[in-house]
């Protein structure tokens, strides 16, 4: 078998040597200890003896050539050794862990024992080079805050268990931290549209079955209709809101005669652009003004942590009547949109809601809701808060009414409003103040434009 003789470190820590002359020829039979070559290094000129007995197969390099420590320079055919061991090479002490060494040699051909100074132990030496230091070379820093949401490990674990990507969940905790509640909510919303069976299969609190008068039930007198998915959701949401939030409602009438004039002036113009200008965009603007001035109306109560979570964004839900029941699509960042943009978006979402084309995503994340039952009829109402929001504004039908102005009775346009709010976090005085803000702005639309 072949034995590859690697050029050993003949001095203390040398790396290379120059072949002065070969002392054997290819084909020569040699004995262990016979000189093979004369080599000159920066420390010594010396003859290198053969580590094995056998026949010279290859001599690598000619006189004058440089050979590197660790490179094979003589190949010898030897007899009587098993082939597995034959791949071993000279230059490595047998006393040390062969396997480790071999692995290192495989990794990098140039690994050699250069010097093992240390009186105790063996320091592995190599002439391998590593790249120069990059000290002082700045690599462009990416914005590290962008990717990861803030969350406690418990919330992360919960998200993982429920199969929710926590980075898509909107956090309601301090600095937008994702709380356990947020994950729970995300999960619920996640289940609603996508998994039809989800709701049916969900374990529900055992409520009593309704027992009707007159037994046995007569099909003539009663009819049992299974609740639709959306109806069940509405029922749940309404109960949740009604039973957790102590509602209180403030009502008032607002003279919007000036606003009506203004609206009428532009309604026709905008119609040409296919934009339907209702009172609603103006009311949204006024509401946002109110929310900014009285931030508790744009908040949620975190009961568990006993904290009021104020939201610094304004997503206005628009309660919309559809064939399948009530839906509340959300206008995002309504504070940043113009009257015209709002008008467009309102007609867009209400149309799509009615046509059942609304995305689930568009029903999420509201911070305040407006319900316009007046478009159908009715004057005052007691709207139910869209939990976990803090308040909801109900709009009644705008009517012409006699009003007293400067001591004279005149006919004006009157908008009846009903504001329900979470009485745990909002006092009655604040409710009145909120309505006053709406009133001031809607009565004087000039102010509305000046202030928003």
């Amino acid at each position: 078998m072949r034995f590859e003789f690697k050029f050993p470190d003949v001095g203390e820590g040398i790396h290379e040597g120059t072949i002065v002359k070969w002392l054997v020829d290819i084909g020569d039979n040699i004995k262990e200890g016979d000189s093979l070559v004369e080599v000159e290094t920066d420390k010594v000129t010396t003859e290198i003896p053969s580590p094995r007995t056998g026949k010279v197969l290859e001599l690598k390099g000619d006189a004058g050539d440089i050979i590197h420590v660790g490179n094979v320079f003589v190949v010898i055919e030897i007899e009587g050794e098993d082939s597995e061991k034959s791949s071993d090479s000279q230059g490595i002490s047998d006393s040390i862990d062969e396997e480790d060494k071999k692995k290192e040699l495989d990794e990098k051909e140039e690994v050699v024992e250069e010097e093992t100074a240390g009186v105790v132990g063996e320091v592995v030496a190599s002439s391998e080079e590593i790249p120069p230091s990059t000290e002082g070379i700045e690599s462009p820093k990416e914005d590290i805050q962008t990717k990861k949401v803030l969350a406690t490990p418990v919330a992360r674990a919960m998200a993982k268990d429920l199969g929710i990507d926590i980075n898509t969940v909107e956090g309601t905790g301090p600095n937008g931290r994702v709380m356990k509640e947020d994950i729970r909510r995300a999960k619920e919303e996640h289940l609603k549209p996508k998994v039809k069976e989800g709701l049916e299969n969900r374990e529900r609190p055992k409520t009593k079955a309704l027992v009707l008068e007159g037994s046995p039930e007569s099909e003539d007198l009663y009819e049992r209709i299974p609740l639709t998915r959306i109806r069940k959701t509405i029922a749940e949401k309404m109960s949740e809101s009604r039973f957790t939030i102590p509602h209180t409602t403030a009502m008032d009438e607002i003279d919007i005669s000036k606003l009506d004039k203004f609206r009428k002036t532009y309604k026709e113009i905008l119609k040409e652009e296919d934009i339907h200008l209702t009172y609603l965009p103006f009311i949204i603007k006024a509401v946002i003004r109110g929310l900014k001035q009285l931030p508790e109306f744009n908040s949620s109560l975190d009961e568990l942590n006993e904290e009021l979570v104020l939201k610094h964004f304004y997503n206005i839900g628009i309660a919309t009547d559809t064939e399948r029941g009530l839906m509340v699509p959300v206008i995002r960042n309504a504070d940043k949109k113009s009257i015209v943009e709002l008008a467009k978006e309102i007609s867009d979402i209400s149309t799509r809601a009615k046509n059942n084309e609304i995305d689930l995503e568009e029903l999420r994340g509201g911070t305040f809701t407006i319900t316009n039952y007046g478009s159908i009829g009715g004057y005052f109402g007691i709207p139910i808060i869209n939990h976990p929001e803090a308040a909801i504004l109900g709009l009644g039908r705008v009517v012409e009414k006699p009003i007293v102005k400067d001591g004279e009775i005149i006919i004006g346009k009157v908008l009846p409003v009903s504001l329900s709010y979470d009485h745990r976090t909002i006092d009655g005085a604040s409710g009145a103040r909120f309505i006053n803000i709406l009133k001031d702005l809607l009565m004087n639309p000039d102010m509305l434009f000046l202030k928003s």
Binding site: A125, S126, E128, I130, P132, E135
Partner: protein, 326 residues
């Protein structure tokens, strides 16, 4: 001008540079003078600067460190060698009772600009007591700085910084990689900041902190997991005390995961401190438990067992995968 040096050569050159520039720098210890140190870190210093500034001392670690304290108070900058970290314990009293405290004890009157060098760590198939990694023990002592380089370039810059530092520095040299590789090193003196870690490789999936010889093994482990699409960020801690918290925190906030690799035993090691930092300062970003890959809570085995003790690239790679997939 640069030269290609291995780590021991870089240490030697740093000493050469500083002794040339500053005649108050003196170097001594066991076998340091004539022989140039058992690992040749101080070779040729005596030839060049004479017996007064580079000399052999009697075999007494406590007195080596104790006398260095007196020298530092009396206007010199001694750089003393503990032949092996495992032999530094006779000097432990001097180090923790005086070296670390003199400045505070004298309310800033006596500062000690001194360096204690020691080869540390295992992997050279040596006798007992020659493979210690007890950096954590020293790193808890207020008033001490503990520095560990992982490359020739860093070794030179950090050692020169240590010599110039007005405060005492324990400079631990990973002897396993004394001669394992070479690197371009400027011939002229330069300093690297003590107390500053270095991000060796940027990544987004997990932050790995290592130092000394474990940096190389960690780099090998990273190569293994990169093929599986994992992009780790590697930080060379470089200074163990005081720890560069900022770099660690910033990285963990980015990756959400932390692995500490060290050769020393697991329990109450430097890794525990790094995990505590992640916990205190990046809690809300964590996506997996901060984790350690370390030596065992055992005595460092004699040579036939040492390959089991030092975390192998494979062991590190396995942990990286586990943590990323947590």
């Amino acid at each position: 001008m640069t030269n290609k040096l291995n780590l021991i050569g870089a240490v030697n050159q740093a000493l050469m540079n500083e002794m040339e520039l500053d005649e108050t720098v003196v170097v001594y210890g066991e076998d340091v003078g004539v022989e140039g140190g058992v690992f040749r870190a101080t070779v040729d210093l005596q030839k060049k600067f004479g017996e007064k500034r580079a000399f052999d001392s009697p075999l007494a670690e406590s007195a080596i460190v104790g006398s260095a304290i007196g020298m530092a108070i009396n206007g010199l900058k001694p750089v003393v060698e503990m032949q092996f970290m495992g032999f530094s314990y006779p000097a432990f009293n001097q180090i923790i009772s005086h070296v670390a405290r003199m400045r505070n004890r004298s309310r800033g009157l006596y500062n000690l600009p001194m360096v204690i060098r020691a080869p540390y760590g295992g992997g050279i198939r040596a006798l007992e007591h020659h493979s210690e990694s007890t950096e954590a023990i020293y790193s808890q002592i207020p008033g001490l700085k503990v520095v560990i380089p992982s490359t020739p370039y860093d070794a030179k810059g950090l050692l020169i910084a240590a010599i110039r530092d007005p405060d005492p520095v324990l400079f631990l040299e990973p002897k396993r990689i004394y001669r394992a590789f070479r690197q371009d090193v400027p011939e002229e003196p330069y300093v690297l900041p003590i107390g500053k870690a270095k991000v060796l490789q940027e990544g987004e999936d997990v932050t790995i902190v290592a130092w000394g010889a474990m940096v190389r093994d960690t780099q090998k482990a990273i190569k293994m997991v990169e093929s599986k699409g994992i992009k780790p960020e590697l930080i060379d801690l470089r200074t163990i005390a005081p720890i560069d918290r900022e770099t660690i925190i910033e990285s963990v906030k980015k990756t959400g995961r932390l692995i500490v690799v060290h050769e020393a035993p697991k329990t109450l090691g430097v890794g525990a401190e790094l995990m505590a930092i992640a916990n205190e300062k990046a809690f809300l970003y964590l996506e997996a438990p901060p984790t350690r890959v370390t030596g065992f809570d055992t005595t460092f085995p004699l040579p036939k067992g040492e390959k089991h003790y030092i975390p192998s690239p494979e062991r590190i790679a396995k942990t990286i995968e586990d943590v990323v997939r947590f």
